[in-house]
């Protein structure tokens, strides 16, 4: 194998896996998947299989950069270092950066919610097929984002030359940042990664501890039952779609402002779909879904690290997380079939 022995390859993988950097990378790579997966969870619990989630990531990634850029420009307001002095200028810049990334998140949320409400309108009110509408939404974004990029930044492939890279703060956790290994692993991530972990618990509580969650689950499982006790099924599904847009949009923000630093065409690279797969495998349970999302993120990180070995073509390694997703889905459907068979045998 290209001059490497099998034991060397496994040795290399082992050396990758045992480094704390690799695990920190896993946590980072999982963030966008997990946002998408949490959004899918809520939609799935309300009975909507939301395929538009990948388009959501692609579009909100773009919207984040645009909002970030405009707000920073607006805060700085044309002031130059030479005019106001370095100290004042730096203070303004810091303020602009903070306002920028917050605007990026908020802007993405607003757009994400609108996109998901549009999707919901097609699926709930116009009774369009959810899978086809999802594909339609994704294709729409594939064309719309480059078009808007061309109009706003003059470049349809990326926003790299339009403005400075995004600036989302990195959080150094006190105490932990001074402990070796743990500091690499848990400290020094982007703030969105911590928000993401918090969202797992928020979504879990929302679905299982609140009245709205109870209604979402009831509507998704037996809409007739929900309707017979006076629940407005349509309203609940719209609420779930809105929440899906809210949580999913942060995945897009992470991709552009944190992971890449700017927006490029097809920035999600299918991460929305992987998130959707994680939510399907986890049966829309936020905790189980999170575990699957981390498994996929782990493969994502492994693929990137293995490039150093220049043994496999990089395309092959990029395939790893998708391949893992596929294997996961196949195992899931086998176990589902077995369950059905068992249930039938019981009769």
């Amino acid at each position: 194998m290209g001059g490497y022995s099998a034991s060397f390859i496994f040795g290399f993988i082992w050396s990758v896996i045992k480094s704390s950097d690799f695990w920190a990378m896993t946590i980072r790579m999982t963030t966008p998947l997990l946002f998408a997966a949490l959004g899918s969870c809520i939609a799935a619990k309300s009975g909507i299989f939301n395929m538009s989630i990948d388009g959501l990531i692609n579009s909100t990634a773009f919207i984040s950069v645009i909002c970030d850029g405009f707000v920073r420009k607006w805060v700085i307001g044309g002031r130059k270092k030479a005019d106001v002095g370095e100290e004042v200028y730096n203070a303004i810049r810091n303020r602009a950066n903070t306002a920028g990334w917050i605007a990026g998140i908020v802007g993405a949320m607003v757009f994400g919610i609108l996109l998901e409400l549009l999707f919901a309108y097609f699926v709930i009110d116009l009774k369009a097929n959810a899978s086809l509408t999802g594909i339609g939404a994704n294709l729409l974004i594939t064309g719309l984002a480059p078009f808007l990029s061309l109009v706003i930044t003059g470049n349809r492939a990326n926003t790299n030359t339009w403005y400075d890279l995004g600036y989302v703060p990195v959080v150094n956790i006190p105490v932990i940042k001074d402990i070796p290994i743990l500091s690499t692993l848990l400290s020094g991530h982007y703030i969105l990664t911590y928000i993401c972990v918090a969202c797992v618990f928020i979504v879990n509580a929302l679905l299982f501890k609140t009245a709205m969650g109870l209604r979402i689950r009831a509507v998704g499982e037996n809409p007739n039952a929900a309707e017979s006790v006076g629940i407005d099924v349509r309203k609940v599904q719209y609420q779930a779609s809105l929440l899906c847009g809210l949580f999913g949009s942060m995945g897009g923000t992470f991709m552009s402002l944190c992971y890449v630093g700017f927006w490029v065409r097809n920035i999600s690279a299918g991460r929305g779909f992987i998130g959707l797969a994680a939510s399907t495998l986890g049966q829309a349970n936020p905790i189980a879904t999170t575990i699957y999302a981390y498994v996929f993120g782990w493969f994502d990180a492994l693929g990137i690290n293995m490039r150093a070995l220049s043994l496999f073509p990089s395309q092959f390694l990029s395939m790893l997380p998708y391949f893992a997703t596929l294997v996961g889905l196949i195992l899931y459907s086998i176990s589902l079939q077995n369950k059905i068979k068992k249930a039938k045998a019981m009769q």
Binding site: A205, A211, R215, N222, A225, E227, S228, I231
Partner: protein, 521 residues
């Protein structure tokens, strides 16, 4: 004089397709009674209750509850007027607990107003459960509950929302006899306080006798009588239910039965809940005869049809077509034994509604050698010629053979099914509700075709909920009741409808020897 709590006065409901489900139906229920609403399938009982529960809007008539005229536009309003419905198919969410299902839509919240108060949920459930002596475990998930427990939850769901008038739509259909007795005790207990009233929908007359105070009879969408249960016998009720008007008479010669084609031996089928739907049933159908199967729906007709056509496995016994057992055979293999089948569910099993007339007619035979060219491709020239001929012969009104089936009227869709099923040269035809919901012209045509096939020496097994059809078309009749054959009438022309009604409703029952005559050779 008892106080009238509910009056449905001259209710008329016409469905969008023109079907008149209720015509000037009047139902008057007194406070604190158990009122039976009886009638055959399709008599309009369920429609009437849907109108009361706000699921359907009537075209005419008025509803008066507690002396006040009300308009009920949706189930929520019905609940507010104190009307609760216990659906035949439980309206429950399987993965949620009993308590969660109970409070759905009116969830108690904790002090912070954010989270659900699970303890309060359980307390509310236990309170109402104890009050009405319908004991359930609030923490159990619905999917882990027994059928009886689910039914209790369904009743409690209505009670916890303040229902004073409870509608129970055939609640015993899913219960064993012991469970039914237990339910009746609970229901009597419920109305004992004088505050609650029950409308009990059923077509099991002994249950009506055992449980109810008064009854209203519906027939063909009209209310045809009411009575105190104590004043009438089961036979009286059955006569009110099954009276008929002869609309179509079929001209036919007496049957000349020959050798046996279909043989059903000791057939026993349990449904998905483990309930016995057919219990040790034996009969045979011979060439040149039409054997009708009559019975109130839910007495095993559906399971019988599914078993013979290979759509369902059976637990004990055997089914033979031309002396070959169909056990373990696929639907296609069974058809190749000389079987054809008009399914009761036309749109699901009868046709592929988005496919063309041509493809639907060819669906059972396209793979056969005679329709293939020598290169193994479909021989469209030959297929088109045959399809055109069948369209003409079976009077299918369609623009072209390539028209989508769903564009046709109900009667013409059924003619497409019949064109396929009758032209495959079968030895035995299972006609399951062959004319349900179609126009008179198509009905007459299909019935005459069945008789013509019989005269050609085919065997026909006719399952129908339409008494006219069973009595007019069949040569002999078996009646299913209580999941067994209750009667075998060798010469259907000598049978009076009220007598058939008595067998169907379990008022009368033949001896085992008399029933055994249906097994030939």
């Amino acid at each position: 004089m008892a106080q009238e709590v509910l009056l449905m006065d001259k209710i008329t409901k016409v469905y969008a397709n023109g079907f008149v489900a209720n015509q000037d139906v009047t139902l008057s229920v007194n406070k604190g009674e158990i009122h039976a609403l009886v009638g055959e399938n399709g008599a309009g009982k369920t429609t009437l209750m849907k109108v009361l529960f706000g699921i359907e809007q009537p075209e005419g008539g008025r509803i008066v509850i507690d002396g006040k005229e009300v308009q009920i536009h949706n189930p929520l309003e019905a609940i507010q007027y104190g009307v609760g419905m216990v659906h035949q198919h439980f309206m429950q969410v399987p993965s949620l607990t009993v308590a969660e299902n109970m409070v759905l839509g009116m969830e108690p919240k904790s002090k912070s107003k954010i989270f659900l108060d699970k303890a309060e949920m359980i307390r509310m459930t236990e309170e109402v459960s104890k009050k009405y002596n319908l004991i359930v475990d609030p923490t159990l998930k619905i999917e882990d509950c027994s059928v009886v427990a689910k039914q209790k939850v369904e009743i409690l769901k209505a009670l916890i929302r303040g229902a004073k008038i409870l509608i129970l739509d055939e609640p015993t259909a899913v219960l064993t006899p012991q469970e039914t007795d237990e339910l009746f005790v609970e229901l009597k207990n419920l109305v004992a306080d004088g505050e609650h009233t029950i409308v009990f929908i059923s077509h099991k007359l002994h249950e009506v006798k055992a449980l109810c105070d008064r009854l209203t009879v519906l027939r063909l969408g009209k209310s045809v009588g009411k009575a105190n249960v104590a004043d009438v016998t089961e036979a009286d009720i059955s006569r009110m239910m099954v009276g008929r008007d002869v609309i179509l008479e079929i001209d036919k010669e007496p049957a000349q039965p020959k050798e046996t084609v279909l043989k059903v031996e000791h057939l026993t089928i349990h449904n998905d809940f483990g309930k016995t739907m057919l219990n040790d049933v034996n009969f045979s159908v011979r060439k040149g005869e039409i054997l009708g199967v009559a019975g109130v729906e839910g007495n095993g007709q559906m399971e019988l049809a599914e078993a013979i056509s290979g759509l369902r496995t059976f637990n004990h016994g055997d089914i033979k077509i031309n002396n070959t057992s169909i056990k373990g055979k696929t639907v296609r293999q069974i058809r190749e034994l000389g079987f054809s089948h008009i399914n009761e569910d036309r749109m699901t099993y009868g046709v592929a509604d988005k496919a063309s007339v041509k493809n639907n007619i060819m669906a059972d035979r396209y793979y056969k050698k005679e329709y293939l060219t020598r290169h193994g491709l479909l021989d469209h020239k030959k297929i088109d010629a045959e399809v055109d001929e069948l369209i003409k012969k079976f009077l299918v009104k369609t623009e072209t053979r390539d028209e989508q089936v769903k564009m046709l009227s109900g009667g013409n869709i059924q003619k497409v099914v019949v064109a396929r099923e009758f032209s495959s040269d079968p030895d035995i035809i299972l006609a399951d509700q062959p004319t349900r919901g179609i126009d008179v012209g198509a009905t007459e045509f299909i019935r005459n075709q069945l008789v013509a096939l019989r005269d050609e020496g085919k065997a026909v097994l006719l399952i129908s909920a339409d008494l006219n059809e069973v009595l007019e078309v069949s040569d002999s009749i078996i009646v299913l009741n209580n999941n067994e054959i209750a009667a075998y009438i060798e010469d259907a022309s000598k049978l009076e409808e009220y007598e058939l009604g008595e067998y169907m409703l379990g008022v009368k029952q033949m001896t085992a020897e008399e029933v055994a005559k249906v097994v030939h050779d």
